[in-house]
Subunit: 193 residues, 4 copies
């Protein structure tokens, strides 16, 4: 399995750095290879083509979000508490890795439709977990039982995403994680029963 070989992750990480530092369209395969400390051709032993690198980057990194969120859901806390943790986790992961934040919020969105569709498919797993929390909260009576789950999810994700993107475009000039409580409050207010 290529996915477990050390060079696989090495190239993924190099891609994040290369894209963050050069921008999506200026992150040529040769730059990624150089950053990874391998020859250009080596890239193609681990990835089918450049598109495959980009999608794999998103997939591997998104995995952290999904794994964390799955842990959060398993908690015995309330749905509100879970949503609070989700937002904080989302901010924390990105605040800890500015390169990753730039790549997911700005650079990867410049990719063509085909890649974006694949990225969206990966994102769905994360959004499904978010739906789980919302539905749970509705069943328990914590959240408004008459709301449209899909719209509610889009509000939560849209809010978190917009705030993160604005933070990245500001060049990380302020503390994203510190905003979590206020963001959570706004969002929970919108959802509450």
């Amino acid at each position: 399995m290529k996915r477990n070989k050390p060079k696989y992750k090495q190239i993924i990480d190099a891609a994040v750095i290369a894209i963050a530092e050069n921008g999506y369209h200026q992150a040529q395969v040769s730059k990624i290879a150089k950053q990874a400390g391998v020859a250009d051709g080596t890239i193609y032993l681990y990835f089918k083509n450049k598109e495959d690198i980009l999608i794999s980057v998103f997939q591997e990194k998104m995995g952290v979000f999904v794994d964390n969120l799955q842990d959060i859901i398993k908690n015995e806390s309330s749905s509100s508490e879970k949503l609070t943790q989700m937002i904080e986790n989302h901010f924390q992961v990105l605040a800890k890795d500015h390169h990753l934040a730039t790549v997911t919020q700005l650079e990867l969105r410049q990719s063509n439709k085909e890649i974006r569709l694949k990225i969206n498919a990966i994102l769905k797993e994360y959004l499904a977990l978010l739906d789980q929390i919302l539905i749970e909260g509705m069943l328990s009576g914590e959240f408004n039982t008459t709301m449209d789950v899909r719209l509610a999810r889009q509000m939560v994700f849209g809010t978190v995403d917009e705030i993160t993107t604005t933070w990245v475009m500001s060049d990380y000039r302020y503390d994203l994680v510190a905003l979590a409580p206020k963001v959570t409050q706004l969002v929970l207010n919108g959802l509450k029963a």
Copy 2:
């Protein structure tokens, strides 16, 4: 003033169509020229470069949003009512022009950081009006007076934007405007005092 000559708008509209039908990266200057019924070189009599076309597209089209929102603000209605109208107007304008919706929600976001920064600058006027409504609502006691206006604005815009994008990616399969009341409710809930 080039902006008022007939070919200027002709090219702008051609760009929207060319981008919507071909995608951002496949909307070459020659395609825009052909769609506009002018020679490639003619484009450069009205625009400095391709970037200038794209930014102008956003600028011209954004004008409608801003004009409508200014009218809404002048109303004598409550802040909640103004926000309600803003969301409905946002949805209505895009629901009426699928080409424009595709271009602003999907295609133009594939542009590079530089263009996106300029687009954000144009967007600011719209967001400033949104801020006005929010502040007004806080002063009047309709909205939570302790909230962070910037975050609140990002929640409103992020929600509306995410819902619109999802609708575009679904190929306009449902009625966007019909969602307005529920979206408004979610958002107003989040903001309310």
Copy 3:
């Protein structure tokens, strides 16, 4: 019609020279462009891709053979005389243009199957004219009336082609046209009634 613009023929001729001097695989588009005195990109205003250049080279040059052969067939001479003229013409055209001879006999044969199939299709017109001469000669009783026309044609063409290729591989060390009478004699002997 691109085919009649001066640059079209200019590029075709440049391709013959570039291929003859550098070999098929070393005749990069940039070399052809340089030889033609145009920019690389200009090539693509006249040809769809590199393959299109190569096929067009063959087509344009083969045209001379076909045109000459059509004139020969219109003569009032005997079929033997026509065949004699065909062979002499074939040798003369190639003997006059060593570059062309190298390209058709050696270099163009290194192309891939797809291109070779298209080249063969072009060649068919020439071979059809040869068939005409053979059939005419059989009907008039000059040639063996029991022979298989297809095999006879393959003998004539195979002989002429092999002799030409050998001459090219010898670096044109002898006079190809001077061989025509003897070659004709061999071939006519094979065909005679």
Copy 4:
């Protein structure tokens, strides 16, 4: 001597199959190795480089033609009879092995000048035997004593080769060996005194 080790022939045969099935330009060293059931690197223990494989393929396979032709020449039959047998043998060997026919008639000819010169050198042995038959026939008075032996040989080989190639390009749709008598007749007619 590497030539006698089992893996040598194994690789040669694998090369014929790989080239026949994938085409000359798509028969990468790795494909030949896979077909042979050895590692890529192993190839280089038996062959200097890829060119060496191709030339060796031709050399090894040409050996059969030469051996058969030497047997034929030793016969006590007439020169016409020997030529008859030569043509039939040529057709039979290739008709029995379609892979080999494709490789020698189509694929190997896509190689560059350098390789083709080396292939021609190998072919010379076969052509020298053909010359022997022709000279013998001239001395015995069977063949035209005034003809140019070199041209006569090129006629015979050119004819046989062209007919074989046409058969291969037709996808072996008809019986090549069945053509032998008619081909022989055409050729012998051309040569006869």
